[in-house]
Structures are given as structure tokens and as C-alpha cells.
Amino acid sequence: MLLRMLLRNAFRHKLRTGLTICGLAVAILAFGLLRTVIDAWYAGVAASAANRLVTRNSISLVFSLPLSYREKIRTVSGVRVVSWGNWFGGVYIDEKNFFANFAVEPKTYLEMYPEYILPPDQERDFFRDRKACVAGVKLARRFGWKIGDIVTLKGTIFPGNWEFVLRGIYRGRDRAVDETTFFFHWDYLNESLKKTAPSRADKVGFYMIEIAEPDLAAQTSQSIDALFKNSYAETLTETEKAFQLGFVSMSEAILLAIQLISFVVIFIILAVVANTMAMSVRERMGEYAVFKTLGFTWRTVAVMILGESLIITALGGALGILVTFPVAGAFADAVGAYFPIFNVTAETIYLDAASSVAVGILASIFPIWRAATVRIAEGLRRIG
């Protein structure tokens, strides 16, 4: 009977309860989306592998390193594979069509990134053709590219129009893998540079290094950097995760603001639900006094108020979570160029649910205290 009464009480003021549920759903949706934006920002960090290191110029990423370093790096104990590449920064037709594009050494790169799933025939074609490129499935879908298409990028860092033949479309091993990356043969870039800008040839932007023992990452990094100490291009080697975090830390203030806003949204809805509960309890103070008169304790009254609050917040939370998925999908389509991985994670759903429950509990504390402490005679006077 208690549960029946909780449900009936929750919907006694249908409009008020309905509006509160809608408000909570919107708040949970906003909270979920903001958390997903933060997750998207950290997607690169999350996708990092513990056995991959990145070596770059110690001054800045914009300065290159000699190609000759690769042989020396290979000699370092614990190093399994060395790959290299450059951030190409090409533009497809228009600047608004932004996507990440790299010149890489194909064989070692794909060996080091098993999370990029490329069909064997496409992989073969990619290796064979020096002008070949590979695109992620989302990127190919975005521009309607098919295998064999000619894709022309306008170089910003490396001037000129660069033509590539699409030889492969990769898929991610799981949802956390970016499927919007574009990569092509580093040799194609290097040989072109030898002709057009020889001083820029045989230089790489970064080395990707796979190590045998992730636990020895720090030691291996130190050994690599020690090789080039006091050279004209000193290196900085760090784990892929630390490298990615370096990018994220540039936007730390924005991320902090987003996090703050997400909690402010929850705080505002807490105030709204608390107000709804306070109004309901004030109106029903006489009824709670009747319960206490009949012999029910303040605990029963507390359960009734808490239960009602939780019913409202559970419904609002569930509705908010349900609409998060389609809205996040639409959001991802709209901003896919900036957030290649925009997935609503299980952690976000847990946080949504936990926030709903927390709002339900916190919003009922003051009304419970009021209803529990009011004298029966005082409460009965509120009737009539």
C-alpha cells in the first residue's frame, strides 16, 4: 500500500510533477552531454596504448627531427618497432572540412596500431602504391569517398595540391578508436620535398616507438633522450598518453569550466526538486500528522517523502538518459570534425543515474526534517 500511495502522491499535482520531471530530464541530458564533451576531449588519451612512446623535438612539436635518429632509436634496449611521421595539416576543398591527416611510414605504423582494422587486400594495395592513402570509415562516409577515388588535399604546412588515391578504409577495433583519421606514405611527402624544398626533406615531425615492456617506459624514454643530448635537435620522449595529455592540458581551463557548468546544472535542478518537495510536504503536513497520530513513526513519514522524491527524480533521470543517446548522436553528427569520438559512455550513464538519485535524496532532506519534527498537534492544525 505504501508504494501505491507514493505513486499516487507523486502525481497528485500532475502539472507540477510533470514540469519537475521534464526539468530534471533536461538537466540530466545537459549533464550527460557536457560529460560526453569532456570524454571526447580525452578520447585520444583514453585510446593511448601503454606500450607506445612518442619522441619529438624537445623545444616544440613544430620543430622536426632528422630521419637518421630512427636507426639510433632502434638500438635502444627495449625498443621493438620504430615508426615516424609528420602532421600534414592538409585541407580538403575548404577549411571547414577539417580532419586530422598524417604522413606516416605505412608498415610500421599499421603494425603499431592494430586497433585500425584494414582489410588485407586494401592493406596490400596501400603498401604497393606510393600515392595511396587510407581514411577512417566515418571520414570516408562524411565525404562520400570510395576505394579508388582521388582525394586532393591543399597543403598548409607543405604548400601545393597533393593528390592521393584512396586505397583503404579502416574501421576501429572498438568504439573508442577514432575513425576520422587520414594517412598516407611519408615517402611520398619526403620525395616531393626533396624536389621542391630540399632543406625540409629527411625530417620527421615525430617518432612513434613501440616498446616491449610498458613498465620500463620511463627508463626507455630516458635512454632515447640521452642519445641525442647536446645535439642540435634534442628529443623529448614520453608515453603516448602523456603526449596526448599535453594537448588536452592546453584546453584545461575550458574543460574545467565545462565540468563546473555540468555540476551547476545539477545544483540548479536540485533546488527545483527541493522546492517541489518542500511545497508538497508543506501542503501535506496535516496528513503526515495524521500518520503520526495513528502510530506511524517519523521514519515512515521520512520513507514516504524520500520515496516520492526518488520516484520523481528516477523518472526524470530515466527520461534524461533515454534522450541523451539520440541527442548525443545528432550532436556528434554536427561537431564530428572536432570530436571524432563522441560516445556516451557507461560511466556517464552511471553518473547520470547517481546524480538523479543524489538529487532525490538531497531534495528530500529538508522536507523530511520539517515533517519529522513538527508536533502532531501543530500538524493537525494545518488541516481545515
Binding site: 499516487r8 496535516g286 496528513e287 495513528l294 502510530g295 502532531i376 498537534a377
Partner: protein, 239 residues
């Protein structure tokens, strides 16, 4: 009056309320005995302390001093939770504005006090049906309070008050919100409960017609029992 027949024994009870820094005396040195199966009416002007005295007897409020023995239990010594259990077992309440729970049907309202007992669902149903038959509302069991007239709501409240078979029935202005016919109906019911079922009924009322139904009448004024009522062992003034 034989000591064995006394169900409520009040001795030197005082009660005051604090309003800011002011202390307002409500009841002063009240002593009163109420016999088993008695139908007692408490009358007096507004603010005389009738409802406060009723609340003290029913264990809804605490006296400042004195003792209140109901069925041999000094309820002034009980804690809040002990009082709650005691009320659930021994007191039935009838209010002026019925105080039914609007989201529960008549049946569910009557069943409410039984949730505190260890009765099974089937036993609860039997008790509720008996109580509802007593107030002749069998055809209204599934109605919500808003679908019932004032008189019918008060009869549901009476069914709720008697469903646990309490020792004591306390009624605060039970006819105050009813028309004449419904009031008469409710008073007859209360009279029957006292006379035929042996319930001790204590009723606070302003209505002399309601008081006439009681077998015994006590007057309160400015927190004191008047005239013969001052003596705890004094005979009742016949209503």
C-alpha cells in the same frame, strides 16, 4: 465510582505553551477520572483548553507536570516511539475535518492503522470489512474521500478509529463540519460504540446537541474544570 472501572485517571496536570518569551498557561492543575465505557463530552469556550486536554489524554502531546494513567499506563512517562506504539494499540481518533488520506480509498484509509499490526492481508481485509459494515458504507469501500459526502467521510473516519478495537475513542469536534442530519447520524454511531461495544468515548464539542448524546459532561474554562468537575471523583454532570 469503583477504582476498577476507571480507565482514564488524570492527576494535577498542567500544560503551557511558549510563544516567544511569553509562557501561556493552557491547563492548570487538572484532575479527572473517566470510567470505562463512558461517553464523556468536554465543553467550554474557545481557548479553554479542551482540545489540549484531549491531546494529552490521547498521547499526542506532553503534559508539563502531573500524571495521566490510561488503562493503568502512565503515558506521561513514555518516550515518543513508545507513545506512537501505545496510540496505535489503544486509541482511535475522530477529527472535525475527518483527516482521511485523499489518495487512499475508503477501504485503504480504514486499513491504514492495521498496517502497524502483525495481521495478514486476509485478516486485515476481514477487520476492515467489519468496521465498514459497522458504519454502513459497504457500497462505498472503493470510493476516494473526494467522492464521499462529509457525513460519509466521517463514518469512514469512525471505521478507521475502531478497526484496531482500541480502548479509547477520542473525538475532536466530530460534528463541527457536518449538517444536522449527518451530525445526528455520527453521534448515534458514537453513542452505539459506547453503549453496545463498551468503548470509552471522549468528545470535545461546542455543540450542546452533540453534548446531549454523551452520558457525562465536563466543562472547561480558562484551563480549569468548572464546579463539580474540579473534584476528580465527582459524579458526572448528566448531559
Amino acid at each position: 465510582m469503583e477504582p476498577a472501572s476507571i480507565i482514564v485517571s488524570i492527576r494535577n496536570v498542567t500544560k503551557s505553551y511558549r510563544r516567544g518569551s511569553q509562557i501561556l498557561p493552557i491547563l492548570q492543575d487538572i484532575s479527572l477520572d473517566i470510567a470505562e465505557s463512558e461517553f464523556l463530552a468536554l465543553m467550554g469556550p474557545s481557548g479553554s483548553g479542551k482540545s489540549t486536554l484531549l491531546n494529552l489524554i490521547a498521547g499526542l502531546d506532553h503534559a508539563d507536570s502531573g500524571s495521566i494513567l490510561v488503562g493503568g499506563v502512565d503515558i506521561t512517562t513514555l518516550t515518543e516511539s513508545e507513545l506512537a506504539r501505545w496510540r496505535a494499540a489503544h486509541v482511535g481518533f475522530i477529527f472535525q475535518f475527518y483527516n482521511l488520506i485523499p489518495v487512499l480509498t475508503a477501504f485503504e484509509n480504514v486499513e491504514l492503522p492495521l498496517l502497524l499490526t502483525g495481521l495478514s492481508k486476509r485478516e486485515r481485509r476481514e477487520h476492515v470489512e467489519t468496521a465498514i459494515e459497522l458504519v454502513r458504507l459497504e457500497d462505498r469501500m472503493d470510493h476516494y474521500p473526494s467522492q464521499l459526502s462529509g457525513g460519509q467521510q466521517q463514518r469512514v473516519a469512525i471505521a478507521r478509529a475502531v478497526v484496531t478495537d482500541p480502548t479509547l475513542l477520542v473525538a475532536d469536534e466530530p460534528t463541527g463540519d457536518l449538517d444536522r442530519v449527518s451530525a445526528e447520524d455520527v453521534l448515534q454511531l458514537m453513542e452505539r460504540l459506547s453503549r453496545d461495544m463498551g468503548k470509552t468515548v471522549i468528545m470535545v464539542t461546542h455543540d450542546p446537541r452533540a453534548a446531549k448524546k454523551a452520558g457525562c459532561l465536563k466543562f472547561l474554562d480558562k484551563g480549569e474544570l468548572l464546579d463539580a468537575s474540579q473534584d476528580a471523583s465527582a459524579e458526572c454532570v448528566p448531559a
